[in-house]
Symmetry: C2
Subunit: 311 residues, 2 copies
């Protein structure tokens, strides 16, 4: 074995420097705006209904690896106010190829008594701050060009509802049903129409948004919102106004979730619970868009993919 | 279920605010001193010799949860220079009680071409910076008192060698053999003699320090160093000058580690490798000492203990 002092190419080094700077600017903005940093548990009790979680044996217990703060977020928000976490998250995708990482980092933030509009504002200001503060001379030429193109990003970002997004897709000739999940090709078709990130809000309750509060004006919709990158890079974040307390327990019963999960949920709420809005933004997806990377694997130093842990 | 807006007591809230501030100050100091933030993988290939790791099935592969950057650190350092990571770490302790967490966060930092003295200086300056920058008025009375007592912490910190530490313990009447691991009671006996954190360096190769370079003046010792808290709080960090390249492979063979691990190690080094020194500091142990907490569980919002995942 020959010792190789520096075998990453200049592009990879540049991306990793951008990644470090992005997290630094995200934290700076959040700290300046009154957010406390917190850390939730990575190892969580295994819940039967949960799909796509990595499972492990925790002594005599069944456990899973976290996919974000989940119900712990409301405890932090109830007790500390505005809070954020930047931490690893895990998803056991059963797909080959390199479109999704199984291990990725999330920027999560929440504001007490915030509504959907408030959490959209936080996100557009945060992303704009990052775009405006990334230095252009941070590295190799293609990365310099990518960063330079971000200087035109300004808030506010455009806002669509899910229903409006369906209309736009139909205008483009897509045969998509109202109530269906937006597939990657749909997100891409929408996102090439925009030059800045944009929001899609108020998804139907049918497409895995039951954990958010129902829209007062239409109980088939929830107070949920995704942030999509422009130029076809797909979803940057998900969020909304999570249901809490009795409303959440009612929703869990409607979804026929088991009693164990309801007990676990209630035990967490005992530690504090307040209405809030929040979001979870994928760090690697953000870096991929910021740096104009073809593959999300290039946004991670040691990417973890389906069935591959090497090195 | 009654919704409880804020059931953490003032003390717990204060500790969590201190925790947030400690990480903020740690990052500020590291960023100001030229360190890039990085993230290593949490899910790693399972190596047969590795004890006390949580194991999980990763599709068709056997995997473990990380206990720190390990060999990935040298890739970051070779390619980016000074780097640090603040990330979760996992240890499957087979002990009951609440003296150790199974899930904890580590502050890890490394400097290219740094020696043992350099990494001691980084740590004492970092810890002193944190102590001097924590606001006294951050919360509840006992925490205020704890923070106030930190204002006398100044670098440099006292430096002992392992051999000197054994002498001191014998002077105190402990029947401890040269070459034995320092137990918790030994660390405590030493640490009540100091009013600031202090270093113990150059541990024998026999006590799980084989991954560090041998001391040039005595090959029975390694270039390893622990930082201990005063007042009986125990070990804050471990570190040293890791062996790399052929030297590390030779050590792995001497330890009779299997070929798979050697291959995996070599494949990581292919991505970059440089001599360096570094350390890994336990966030919760640091918070416990800073806040004078009796239990390390009080330093974590949702502590994970042996056989307990609730809530």
């Amino acid at each position: 074995m020959t010792k190789k002092e520096s075998p990453w190419d200049e592009r990879k080094k540049s991306v990793m420097r951008v990644r470090s700077k992005v997290l630094h600017e995200a934290r700076s903005w959040l700290t300046e705006h009154g957010f406390y940093e917190v850390q939730g548990p990575v190892i969580m009790p295994a819940i039967a209904e949960w799909k796509s979680y990595f499972r492990l044996r925790y002594y005599d217990l069944d456990a899973v690896l976290s996919q974000g703060l989940g119900p712990y977020a409301k405890v932090f928000i109830a007790n500390l106010g505005r809070t954020y976490a930047i931490s690893p998250s895990f998803r056991a995708e059963m797909v080959n190829g390199d479109r999704r990482l199984t291990e990725y980092w999330l920027i999560e933030a929440g504001i007490p008594h915030g509504n959907l509009e408030a959490i959209m504002e936080i996100q557009e200001r945060l992303v704009t701050h990052i775009c405006q503060h990334l230095p252009i001379d941070i590295g190799e030429t293609t990365i310099q060009k990518a960063i330079a193109r971000l200087k035109r990003i300004r808030s506010p970002f455009p806002r669509l509802t899910y229903s409006k997004a369906i209309d736009l897709l139909r205008d483009e000739g897509y045969d998509v049903q109202w109530g269906a999940t937006l597939e990657y090709r749909h997100e891409k078709a929408l996102s090439v129409q925009f030059k800045t990130p944009f929001f899609i809000s108020r998804f139907p309750i049918s497409i895995e948004t039951y954990s958010y509060r129902n829209c007062p004006e239409n109980p088939m919709l929830t107070l949920s919102v995704d942030l999509l990158a422009p130029e076809g890079y797909g979803e940057l974040s998900s969020g909304g106004e999570p249901a809490i307390g009795e409303e959440m327990l009612k929703k869990m019963k409607e979804e026929e979730m088991n009693l164990d999960e309801q007990k676990w949920y209630a035990s967490i709420e005992e530690m504090g619970s307040t209405f809030h809005s929040g979001f979870a933004m994928g760090v690697e997806r953000l870096i991929q868009w910021l740096c104009s990377l073809e593959h999300i694997t290039d946004a991670s130093a040691f990417p973890r993919l389906h069935n591959c842990l090497y090195p």
